[in-house]
């Protein structure tokens, strides 16, 4: 129990003394995760809406594959991105390996299917409700997708937050493509793994507490700012 108590105490000291190493890691984590979630949302939300309003051959299979990709193993994604970005790989010329950009790419690949799949389910329900109205109003395909994304925005926040939750806690892929380099690609999760391995539990616990606090604060802030309860009819 003493280990936990020491760890917690050390964690609070690091947080409230504004330890520069800790805050550097926090900042990079937020930078990578928020960037990845923004890019994944820009791809995943319209993709989910498009799948909801369009009928085409093999649609069911595409949705099934998308759902399956939600459980994509991060280390496998990390491996593929590593191979693509390494010097001999097809994107090796960009020199992105072991950079925050590589970490963002890996997280986008992991998070996009999750956001697309959840948004597809949300938009599909809304489309069932709006279908006759939007067809009757002669809305174009693009206008329908825009209306569904706009009117479903509060529910779609859940999809984005799920993506954020997965990205901020991800360790396997970004460890492989980022390399966990100090002052360059070290983020909260990779730092926790490293510090735990070194037996530096107070620093690891400080990072862990911050990780949990970030997840809670961002979720709360988005729910409050997005007025997610406003559309309730009870």
């Amino acid at each position: 129990m003493n280990g936990y108590a020491d760890g917690f105490w050390g964690a609070w000291v690091l947080i409230f003394t504004f330890d520069p190493a800790l805050y550097e890691i926090i900042l990079l984590s937020l930078q990578v995760t928020v960037s990845a979630v923004i890019v994944a949302s820009l791809i995943g939300l319209p993709m989910g809406a498009w799948l909801a309003v369009n009928r085409f051959k093999f649609r069911r299979y595409v949705i099934a594959v998308l759902n399956a990709l939600m459980g994509l193993p991060p280390v496998v994604v990390g491996l593929f991105v590593y191979m693509a970005l390494s010097r001999a790989g097809p994107l090796g010329g960009f020199g992105l390996l072991f950079s925050p950009s590589a970490m963002i790419i890996a997280q986008v690949i992991i998070v996009t299917p999750l956001i697309a799949s959840i948004s597809h389910q949300t938009i599909r329900d809304l489309w069932a409700e709006y279908h006759d109205l939007l067809i009757s109003m002669n809305a174009t395909r693009g206008q329908r997708i825009m209306a569904l994304l706009w009117d479903g925005k509060r529910s779609l926040l859940t999809a984005t937050l799920a993506g954020f939750g997965r990205a901020i806690g991800e360790v396997g892929a970004i460890m492989i493509v980022g390399g966990n380099i100090e002052h360059a690609t070290r983020v909260l999760t990779t730092a926790i793994a490293l510090e735990t391995g070194k037996g530096n539990f107070s620093f690891a616990m400080g990072l862990g507490l911050v990780l949990i606090m970030i997840a809670v604060i961002i979720n709360l802030a988005i729910h409050i700012a997005g007025k997610t309860e406003r559309a309730s009819t009870w």
Partner: protein, 237 residues
């Protein structure tokens, strides 16, 4: 401007999953008037309206407007039995059809405000549309349909779940719309409403037009025993 009417149906038929819903139906809707579609449940009233409006695919025969269908689609509107409320404020819901037609945001919102005032919805402009009462929702549906000044408006039992007062308000709006030049086609189970509003009647039975005539002769001297029974409130099978 050239009218999209008359609307002509020739042997129009609608199927769903192999089952015939309506047809073959042949009729013509003149450029003016108020047509009431009546008949028992399952007779095909809703499907006929959806077929005319283009919400239901025609599996046989033709549904032809005086102008190409793409042009006709932009000059008609539909009011559903259960109001479909967009998850927006009343003001934005009213402005939406105008925005779809390319009207600027400021102009659309201003027109929405004027429209709300004329429909008795001015006090609800900033209300959340899904939170309105049943009567208010149906009034909003009607206002949203009429704000684009459609040449023809289809209404599927718009007063089905409304009380007498709300029904009267809707009927007044419909009479004003007709006076303003909008062609109206509406389904109802309310024979009193059909007598009050309609100029001609389409009596549907088993997915086909069983009888069609002006309102007065239909109610005073129906041509078929089924129509007579229906007017008298008997069960028609």
């Amino acid at each position: 401007m050239v009218s999209i009417l008359p609307l002509t149906l020739e042997n129009a038929t609608a199927h769903m999953r192999g089952k015939k819903l309506v047809g073959p139906v042949s009729l013509t809707l003149a450029p003016t008037g108020f047509t009431m579609v009546i008949g028992p449940n399952g007779a095909g009233k809703t499907t006929l309206l959806r077929l005319m409006h283009g919400l239901q695919r025609c599996s046989g025969g033709t549904v032809a407007w005086a102008l190409p269908a793409t042009e006709a689609r932009t000059r008609q509107a539909f009011v559903f039995q259960s109001p479909i409320m967009m998850r927006r404020k009343v003001r934005d819901s009213l402005a939406y059809p105008l925005r779809l037609r390319g009207m600027g945001k400021a102009a659309a919102l201003e027109k929405a405000s004027h429209c709300a005032a004329s429909f008795g919805l001015a006090g609800l402009l900033d209300s959340w549309a899904p939170m309105l009462s049943g009567g208010e929702k149906q009034k909003l549906s009607l206002a949203r349909a009429l704000i684009i000044e459609p040449e023809i408006l289809f209404l599927d039992e718009p007063c089905a779940s409304l009380d007498g007062r709300a029904t009267r308000e809707i009927e007044t709006i419909l009479q004003q719309a007709q006076a303003g030049g909008t062609r109206l086609v509406m389904s109802t189970h309310d024979m009193g409403q059909a007598r009050r509003l309609a100029q001609d009647i389409i009596f549907m039975l088993h997915g086909a037009v069983h009888e069609q005539s002006d309102v007065e002769p239909f109610f005073t001297s129906p041509q078929t025993t089924e129509a007579t029974a229906f007017i008298n409130g008997d069960i028609v099978e």
